[in-house]
Symmetry: C2
Subunit: 640 residues, 2 copies
């Protein structure tokens, strides 16, 4: 056993030989961020050895200079003796005030949600008193009152309720309020609470979107499907991997699975408690919650081993978790309440997609072919009609969500969401969320940026910046000179005073993302023998920002070249879909039917996919004829 | 707050003014027995004040001499200051080795129990491996394997199973053993355990009879309905009341309800652990249990408030508890396993009766009228056919179970089960269970004793002993001279050396019990317009001992005067009924149908009942014409 001490906190721990520095830090509660999931790739977990030595498995991403100074990667250093480690002051993860209104129904399109039957609801019941000629037991008379009130024919309860029942019934003359969870095909209706008198009051519930990058919660008044408040924050697991694959790689041991579970629960419960505090509601009074998340996020929230999601043939433990008690899940609400999960389809098409589809015409009958794109940390594509549906996942990466791009950030205060570039001077005109000095660029800003750089002639179709143009705004990003960067906001004009730049590596990340999405759509349509022209409507979901510029999205080849009017931007459809499930029994039924109807296509094993993907790594595409409107614009521009 | 110290243990506790000495003793873990339930009636909880004073609410049953010496009743003394209390050395509650074979099928009658489907069973399953063309999630492939194996179509599970599932499936090439709880109308089937490989092994379950006086457990091999072992012991709650009413009276506070719950759990879990130890089985491997008990016993086992069972209109909290997890109930077995309860009918006809009826032809079709008598601590009577059933309860008292009679004991080693009395000398010839020196008299011995005393002319029909007969065996029982006693075993011939006697108070208790049972039968038949002659078969259940002498039972007027061949002695039918439910799905269905068919008759509110009861307080009855065979015997005897 060896003593490991972390500076500057001076926290220490004793661990056996071979333990990684990252694990030792986790055990002591020292925060070290490992966005690549501890794979020794990203270099974010670098720490400096102050005394002692460690065995370095990998430090490839550190410079020779850094190595000489004693920097190592915490994830890739094995402890072999007593050691003292200097941890750089942790960068505070972005906690900007959320101005995002995506949850509150920003989307242009919003399916009319019937307000009918939340999963759990309260009924005031006048129970028949017992009498010599009405010798039913207390529980039987109560269940008869439920039935007579239009409730379920049969309803169970637990010992906690039964132990109080005799007193509860008689406290206010057999008038009681019962909190009843509706049954479904797998589970009977259940009374989780019985209180004396009429305490039917305002009932609220939680719609929860567990995203790889961002978690969002809507506090909803169930009676009218009204959003009382929305809260969102980065998923606390980001410190252990920026994307799904790095999280899965990190989750190698039961301890780490539990660590990841606690990280996302901490995020969610802080959001819930914040909303409850604002609206003077006790979390324990919340009896309804619906969670939508991708398959990996649901596995990690539930503490399930995600490893086989990553390994061919890509198998989740469970696609459709049964409803689970809040106590088992760990959410801050009535511990006996049930939490529902939007059903998943496969390893890479999860409940966030089925919930999102609820917000589209694909949830209803209809012969028109429609396309649904969710461009989040992953890209998911669904195509179909009211009769059939096919889904696939594209490894899009989180570039449009603000990760993997140096200047990227999510759509919160300080994010640049609009950019115009003067082709001659390279000067930029930016619109910033919240009106403050800019701090970074959100998804919609990235799309503007690519399109503007390209049409201004500062960027070629392969993603290379032109050093000779842009009025000095394009400079070498590092000493190698092989990576150029465009200055979006010069030094002194940003929130931090530092310049905000976009380099060619960032641009490659953005191109890979847009290529992944477009090529997934193309392969999917080809597999059903259709062309883009056959698409009557395209739904676009994702956390880009408040406004998505469709024209520029088509310009860069992210979206197919179709008439504007065929596009509908949904915003965070996973969250609004979860909300529909929360309030409406029809939506809960419909989402199961959707899941039943979807056929899952595994792109990774389709040999044509790589060709499509490579061809899409251009602006807008190597085959410009696929983008006739862009071709026409370019032609008119060069003509003009 | 006052300091209360108990001698000789010197245990002490600090309690507020007004706490009873009994409650203070309970808090410190000092055992004081209160058979009357703390009502200040029985005098069993007497303790002596060594220093300090208490406020005595009642000490009516103590003599003037005892009062002068500082004796008080612990149940009826309120603490008003610091006090030290001498507790008499607790009489060790009878823990004799159980020789009883009632559980193992002693009964002459035993319904053939099909061995078909215990509630929970294990299946070895070969699950399809996942593949790119078989992209179902692990849980889906597992549930398909269950279905293909002939298991339920739909089956749920919990997070604990899901968290291990990926590893479990892959540990032995997708061969797993699933432990599955069958569904019912209220609850879906559930997998409570999934293990790698084929570990289908000997499966055992528990049939549990929770009696007011005695608890009995059968450890059963489920595959062949074979009883591996039986264990029985007094219900630990006996220290808090000998019968149902005194227990309910004791259970005044949530703390006392919990105390009673723990007392019976301690009894049951010791029995279970003892059986498991003998048979080298881990309690945690037991996945099946069925409990049969009267309504009050089930309430107290589950921690439910029993108070309204005692108060008109006599209303239980629940007659048919849903199946509950062993963890909730507190039984020593797999905490995730479910415990089933035989359904109750009303406050005084419980699951012990419906389980018992399973062992009779009344559980099947048939037009013959049959009578079922359970003569336990309470007496319950059921009459009916395969079409209709009517049930009532008689406040019989526990006299035939060994309580409420000075020399009474249950049918264990040392119990006198047969007695012959020489009319001239009064000398007795006794048969003792286990062949040792006698320690007391069990139920069958009591019946012999009453019949022999009467036919020997030592006892008159009203229950008075004749001081002038019996060769000196009849003496005054105390200084008042108003209570005579018969010496069954003289000093020096018993196990303890003390004489074993039966006094007139004991005889009155026995007469009250037999009168309650007989008059309940009579009222019940009258209410359906039938006479005893209409009864095709009489089932007698109860814990009398190993052999019930039917002729003598009729002689004393306990059983109706019908031909011998119409009687069937069932033994502990609650336990054997629970065992049938344990092993056989048909029995579980049938017991629900029985409960649905039974109409509950409340004797307490029938004005005719008291007349019938009073008339039955004679040997055999004030109306001797109701007992023609007894009348004939008496006539032939006096003629001879």
């Amino acid at each position: 056993m060896h003593l490991v001490t972390f500076l500057p906190s001076e926290k220490s721990v004793t661990v056996p030989t071979g333990t990684s520095l990252l694990d030792a830090a986790t055990q002591t509660g020292v925060a070290i961020t490992a966005p690549c999931g501890g794979e020794g790739v990203c270099g974010e977990c670098r720490v400096r050895i102050a005394s002692g030595t460690v065995e370095c498995v990998s430090r490839g991403c550190l410079s020779a200079n850094e190595r000489a100074q004693g920097w190592v990667l915490a994830c890739s250093s094995r402890i072999t003796g007593n050691v003292t480690v200097q941890v750089p002051q942790a960068e505070v993860v972005e906690q900007a005030q959320i101005v995002d209104d995506h949850a509150a129904g920003r989307g242009a399109h919003k399916a009319a949600t019937q307000v009918a039957k939340p999963l759990t609801s309260k009924r005031y019941l006048q129970v028949e008193p017992s009498a010599l000629d009405n010798s039913f037991c207390d529980f039987e008379r109560l269940t008869r009152a439920v039935k007579d009130d239009g409730g379920p024919d049969s309803v169970t309860t637990d010992l906690e309720v039964l132990r109080e029942l005799a007193a509860t019934l008689r406290a206010q003359d057999h008038g009681v309020t019962a909190t009843i969870v509706a049954g479904d095909e797998n589970t009977p209706a259940e009374m989780i609470r019985v209180e004396p008198g009429n305490v039917v009051s305002r009932q609220v519930g939680l719609a929860i979107d567990v995203g790889t990058t961002t978690c969002a919660v809507n506090l909803v008044e169930l009676a009218n499907n009204h959003v009382l408040g929305t809260a969102a924050d980065y998923n606390g697991q980001l410190a252990r991997g920026a994307d799904i694959i790095s999280r899965i790689n990190y989750a190698k041991t039961p301890q780490r699975i539990e660590e990841l579970r606690q990280l996302v629960l901490t995020t969610l419960n802080a959001l819930i408690e914040g909303l409850c505090g604002t609206h003077a509601i006790s979390p324990r009074q919340i009896d309804n919650a619906v969670v939508a998340g991708n398959t990996t996020m649901v596995h990690l929230l539930l503490g399930l081993n995600p490893d086989y999601i990553r390994l061919e043939p890509y198998t989740p433990t469970v696609n459709r978790p049964a409803r689970l008690r809040a106590r088992e899940v760990g959410l801050a609400m009535n511990p006996k309440a049930y939490v529902l999960f939007a059903p998943g389809i496969g390893s890479y098409v999860g409940g966030d997609i089925t919930a999102g589809l609820l917000q589209t015409a694909l949830a209803h009958d209809g012969d028109d072919v429609r396309l649904f794109l969710d461009i989040g940390t992953n890209g998911e594509v669904v195509v179909g009609t009211g009769e059939w549906l096919m889904a696939c996942a594209a490894s899009a990466g989180p570039a449009f969500e603000g990760s993997g791009v140096t200047c990227g950030m999510r759509a919160s205060n300080g994010a640049i969401e609009r950019i115009r570039i003067d082709a001659q001077t390279g000067r930029t005109d930016v619109t910033v969320i919240g009106g403050s000095d800019p701090r970074g660029v959100c998804g919609s800003g990235m799309i503007d940026l690519l399109a503007e750089l390209w049409t201004a002639g500062l960027l070629d179709p392969s993603g290379k910046l032109d050093f000779h143009r842009g009025g000095g705004r394009i400079q070498a990003a590092d000493q190698t000179g092989r990576n150029l960067a465009f200055t979006i906001v010069p030094e002194g004009y940003s929130d931090t005073g530092q310049a905000i730049t976009l380099d060619e590596r960032d641009i490659q990340n953005l191109l890979r993302t847009k290529a992944a999405v477009y090529s997934a759509c193309a392969i999917m349509l080809r597999s059903v023998g259709l062309d883009f022209d056959a698409i009557a409507e395209v739904y676009v979901a994702g956390g880009f920002g408040r406004f998505l510029d469709l024209e520029k999205s088509i310009m860069i080849g992210l979206l197919p070249d179709l008439p504007m009017k065929r596009f509908t931007y949904l915003g965070n459809s996973a969250l609004s879909g979860a909300q529909a499930m929360l309030c409406d029994a029809t939506a809960r039924q419909r989402v199961r039917q959707l899941a039943d109807r979807i056929t899952y296509l595994e792109l990774n094993v389709d040999p044509a996919y790589m060709d499509e993907y490579t061809a899409a790594l251009f602006l807008p595409h190597t085959d410009i004829d696929r983008f006739p409107s862009v071709k026409a614009k370019l032609a008119s521009k060069s003509a003009g």
